[in-house]
Each structure stands twice: as structure tokens, then as C-alpha cells.
């Protein structure tokens, strides 16, 4: 395990300390060491936007704290849901009096902890509503969409939800926009190597050299197919072919295409894959309104990529276009 850590049981603590030091203009601590918030939170009279999840997915989750983005994040151990208390404290840190939109991913632990945190918040009179991201196509058939995992589509859900909240919208409006974002979004991942949780010390699944796993999850959850390692163009085609029919996307659609590395894949290769993705979308009459290529949602030092495509309407376009300032996404309108 070639890793730069101290005590493997304290990687999250150490990382959080460094993160706060590196981004003092964006984030700050709260009373709960497992909750960070945007320096501006709670923004009075704005719906609070909260997320949370296990660590090891940088920039997710704390990397999306910021202006017009997420207000507070509950932080879990590596690949493990934050506690109910952390979600609850994140709700309190984010609540500016208009309620809280908790936008998170569909994992058993997160579902349970969020459910209980909502009960705790209700006692304080804080209204919390949720959107549960389930953009990962390979994790369940379309007829059981509620079983699908949330993956990099969460980034677009936060972008949209954060922008909507900043527009002064009500909690129901924020929830509706974020829900629309995730309903219009489909993702798929391809893994090329496993990864190692520091406290565990060895990979807890394998991908043999020369092989790849189509449909793998962000924690190494099983995919739909293990094949010989394909070329970048073939991988692009496999991903596009799996997700386009699922929504379905079609001729004339304008989309966001987000191609994220899983951590250890050189960014050079993300552009090689994106080159083909864009070409394949164009061939189907789908135009990329806004591309995001980079490491947006990773899995420690896993090699591989995830492709996320979101179909846009006028509202989503304007929300995607809004300025944003966070470690993971910083964008400004052209002067």
C-alpha cells in the first residue's frame, strides 16, 4: 500500500484538518468534527443544501461546499456512511430558516442514517426533504430504479440544487429541481484496478491486469461484465450504449456530459475517452451543452472512469450555468 497517511484509522480526521487549512475562504469547521460547512452558511432565508457520504471520493463530498453549491456536509469514515448525528448536525449548520434539502446517494447506510437524522431534526422543528440520487444504470434494471446506486450524477444534483436554492426558491422548489436533475441523469462506471481502504490495508476486491469491469460501483460494488481491457474508444462506446437507451436520450437533446476519473487514471486518458464520447453523442444528434472532464467523484486510487449524462431543459441549463465556487467546481460567467 503506497500511501501517504499517518494512522490509518485517522485518515479522515487528518484529511479534514488539511482541507480546512487549504480552503479557508470556502469552508469552516462546526462543533461536530464530522461536519464541515460553507463559510457563508447558514445563509438567512435560503434553503440549506446538505449532503454527506463516506470519505475517499474527493472532491465528493466536502469539495462541493461553497457558494451556490452545498452548505453543509456530513463526513463518514472511508467508504462508510456518516452517522445519523452527523447528518443531523449538518442539517442544523445549513438551516437558514427555510428548511433543508438533503441531496445524497442511494446506499443502505446513508438511507438509514439520513432517515434517523430527519427524525432528530423534526424534534427541533427543522424541515428536511430529500432527493436520493440513483443515477447508476448498471446497478439495477430500469424497472427497479429505486434500487440503483447514486454515483457521479450526484455532482450535477448538487450543482442544480445549490443553484436553485441560491435563487431564493422554496424547499419544495429546490427538491423538485434536484429531483428533476437526477431523474434526467444516467451514469455508468468502468473499473481497471481495485483500491485499498487504508484501515484495511489490502484491496477487498480484484480486477486482474488486462481486465476491466463495466458497471462497477464507487466502492467496488460488482458491475455487469468483466471483460478484457478494451481500447478507450470501445470503453466510450460501451458506456454510451448502456446509458443512452435507459432515459432514453435522443436526437436533439442538449446534455451535460460529465466524465470523471476514479482517482488514479491519468487525466490525459479522460480526454482520450471524452473525445470519443462526444463523437458518439454527436452521431446520435445529442449535443453537449456543457462538458465536465476531470476528477469529480473518485474512489481512492482506483483506475477507471465514470460517464454521466444529464438531459437539459431551460431551467436546468440556467442552473448549470450559474456561477459556482467550490474546490470541485469553480465556474464563472464570462465577463
Amino acid at each position: 500500500m503506497q500511501r501517504l497517511i499517518n494512522d490509518p484509522n485517522l485518515v479522515v480526521e487528518d484529511m479534514l484538518k488539511g482541507f480546512v487549512k487549504a480552503h479557508p475562504d470556502l469552508v469552516t469547521v462546526t462543533d461536530n468534527p464530522r461536519v464541515l460547512k460553507y463559510v457563508g452558511a447558514p445563509v438567512p432565508n435560503k434553503v440549506g443544501v446538505v449532503t454527506g457520504g463516506g470519505s475517499g471520493h474527493k472532491p465528493a463530498f466536502i469539495g462541493y461546499l461553497g457558494r451556490n453549491m452545498v452548505d453543509a456536509v456530513a463526513v463518514g469514515e472511508v467508504f462508510s456512511s456518516p452517522s445519523a448525528k452527523a447528518f443531523y448536525d449538518a442539517f442544523k449548520a445549513a438551516d437558514g430558516g427555510k428548511g433543508v434539502a438533503c441531496l445524497y446517494g442511494n446506499y443502505a447506510g446513508d438511507n438509514m442514517n439520513v432517515k434517523m437524522a430527519i427524525r432528530m431534526a423534526a424534534k427541533d422543528g427543522i424541515e428536511v426533504k430529500t432527493v436520493v440520487a440513483n443515477d447508476d444504470v448498471p446497478s439495477a434494471p430500469k424497472t427497479e430504479r429505486e434500487k440503483r446506486r447514486g454515483v457521479a450524477g450526484e455532482v450535477l444534483m448538487w450543482k442544480v440544487g445549490g443553484a436553485k436554492a441560491s435563487s431564493g426558491a422554496s424547499l419544495d422548489e429546490v427538491i423538485a429541481a434536484a429531483q428533476k436533475a437526477i431523474d434526467n441523469t444516467r451514469s455508468i462506471g468502468v473499473g481497471l484496478t481495485p483500491c485499498t481502504i487504508p484501515a484495511v490495508g489490502h484491496p477487498n476486491f480484484t480486477i486482474e491486469p488486462g481486465k476491466m469491469e463495466l458497471g462497477i460501483g464507487h466502492h467496488g460494488e460488482p458491475g455487469i461484465q468483466v471483460t478484457d481491457l478494451k481500447s478507450a474508444d470501445e470503453v466510450a462506446a460501451m458506456m454510451v450504449d448502456t446509458i443512452l437507451p435507459d432515459l432514453p436520450f435522443g436526437k436533439g437533446d442538449e446534455v451535460v456530459a460529465l466524465l470523471s476519473g476514479l482517482g488514479a487514471t491519468p487525466v490525459m486518458e479522460l480526454y482520450i475517452v471524452y473525445n470519443k464520447v462526444e463523437e458518439l453523442l454527436a452521431a446520435q444528434g445529442i449535443s453537449v451543452y456543457k462538458p465536465y472532464v476531470g476528477n469529480f467523484f473518485t474512489s481512492l486510487e482506483m483506475m477507471g472512469v465514470t460517464l454521466t449524462v444529464m438531459k437539459l431543459d431551460a431551467e436546468l441549463k440556467s442552473l448549470i450555468d450559474l456561477d459556482a465556487e467550490s474546490m470541485g467546481i469553480t465556474q464563472f460567467k464570462r465577463a
Binding site: 469514515e77 456512511s81 445519523a84 443502505a108 481502504i197 484495511v200
Partner: protein, 215 residues
């Protein structure tokens, strides 16, 4: 040998649970290493050891002690185990709140409340290779034994034995839920870590209770 014990013995019972997890932490991580990510013992030990710190010094009502243990797990552990075991102990505590003594009937209500809490949170069924495979037969054995007129201590022993058989049953199962489900057929032949920790907890609970009954 008595047919109930005082509900003020919360400290005794919960300390026994904590020791059981501490003593078996490495074993539980080893089991998890075979089909999971090898951290089950680490996770559980972290939570239970923290609960020990939060346990006050003097005698504590069983309801409060169990509730406190559940609280710590819920607050500090996260993951799936935090809420599952957290709610399990909170609901067990709730089911004996206000009782002066713990009778077989109260104990049965506690088991039922704990099991239902876990079932309402997770989606696991018997046969999915989870702690449910330990908990369901354990509760049934206790209820059957009490129904058949056995004394409290015997029913507790039968509960622990059934928990052990339930735990052992997971060896031949294919995991349907959680991390081990990744392995499919390869998960067969290994114990489920959660089922094993659940057996260790129920065994400790039975032994401590039997001690208080003078058995």
C-alpha cells in the same frame, strides 16, 4: 434460581456486551476479511469502547444502559452497523423502560422490539446472510422455550444455542445484501461477520442474564 432479575443491573449487562465485542474484535475483522473489507471488528470495537466511556459509574437502569449504548452507536459509528445495532439496543431499552424487574415476558418483548427495529431499517430477510440469520431464530427459540414452560435461564440458553446455529447457517449461504454480495457464489463457505457479532452479543447477553438469575 430466580425467574427475573432487577432492572437496575443495566451496567452489568451492557458491560458484558462491551467486553464480548472487545474480546472478539480481531476475530470479527478476520471473518470480515474473508468476504468483506475486514473492518467489522474495528467498527464494532470503536463503537462499543466509546459506549464504555459513556457508561456512568454507579448502578444504571437496564433501559438507560441499553439506550445509552444504542445512542453511542447511532451517534458515532455511522455506516450500516451504527443505525442497525444502534436502533436494536435503543428499542430493547425502550421495551423494558419502567419495568422494575426483567421477566421472561419483558425479555421477549425486548428481543421482539430490537428485531423489528432492525427489520424496519434494513431490508434483510432470513437467508440473505446477515445478522438477521442469527437474530430471527434466536428470538423464536426464546419465545418457544418460554411458551413450552421452560424457566428463564433455560430459555436464555436455548436462545444462545439457536443464535449459534443461526450464525453457523450463514456459512452455507450466498450473500444477497451488503459488501459480501459482490462475491456471489464465492461468499459461500464463510461465516457472515454481522451474524457472528450478533451471536457473540446474544451469547453475552444470555450469560450475563443467567448470572443475574443465579443460574
Amino acid at each position: 434460581m430466580s425467574e427475573s432479575f432487577s432492572s437496575s443491573e443495566g451496567r452489568t449487562i451492557v458491560l458484558a456486551l462491551i467486553r464480548a465485542i472487545q474480546d472478539n474484535a480481531a476475530y470479527l475483522s478476520d471473518i470480515d476479511g474473508a468476504i468483506g473489507d475486514g473492518d467489522h471488528g474495528i467498527n464494532m470495537n470503536k463503537g462499543f469502547t466509546l459506549a464504555e466511556k459513556n457508561l456512568s459509574g454507579g448502578p444504571v437502569a437496564l433501559a438507560d444502559a441499553l439506550d445509552g449504548l444504542g445512542d453511542t452507536l447511532l451517534t458515532d459509528i455511522g455506516g450500516s452497523m451504527g443505525p442497525l445495532y444502534g436502533m436494536f439496543f435503543q428499542e430493547m431499552g425502550g421495551a423494558c423502560r419502567g419495568e422494575e424487574t426483567i421477566t421472561p415476558q419483558v425479555f421477549q418483548a425486548m428481543l421482539t422490539a430490537g428485531l423489528e427495529a432492525i427489520q424496519s431499517l434494513g431490508d434483510a430477510k432470513v437467508g440473505d446472510k446477515t445478522l438477521i440469520d442469527t437474530l430471527v431464530p434466536a428470538r423464536e427459540a426464546f419465545a418457544a422455550s418460554v411458551g413450552a414452560g421452560d424457566d428463564f435461564a433455560t430459555a436464555l440458553q436455548k436462545m444462545a444455542d439457536a443464535a449459534e446455529r443461526g450464525k453457523e447457517s450463514t456459512r452455507d449461504l450466498v450473500a444477497k445484501i451488503g459488501r459480501a454480495s459482490r462475491l456471489g457464489e464465492r461468499s459461500r463457505g464463510h461465516l457472515d461477520p454481522g451474524a457472528t457479532s450478533c451471536w457473540i452479543l446474544l451469547r453475552a447477553l444470555a450469560e450475563a442474564s443467567r448470572g443475574l438469575l443465579g443460574a
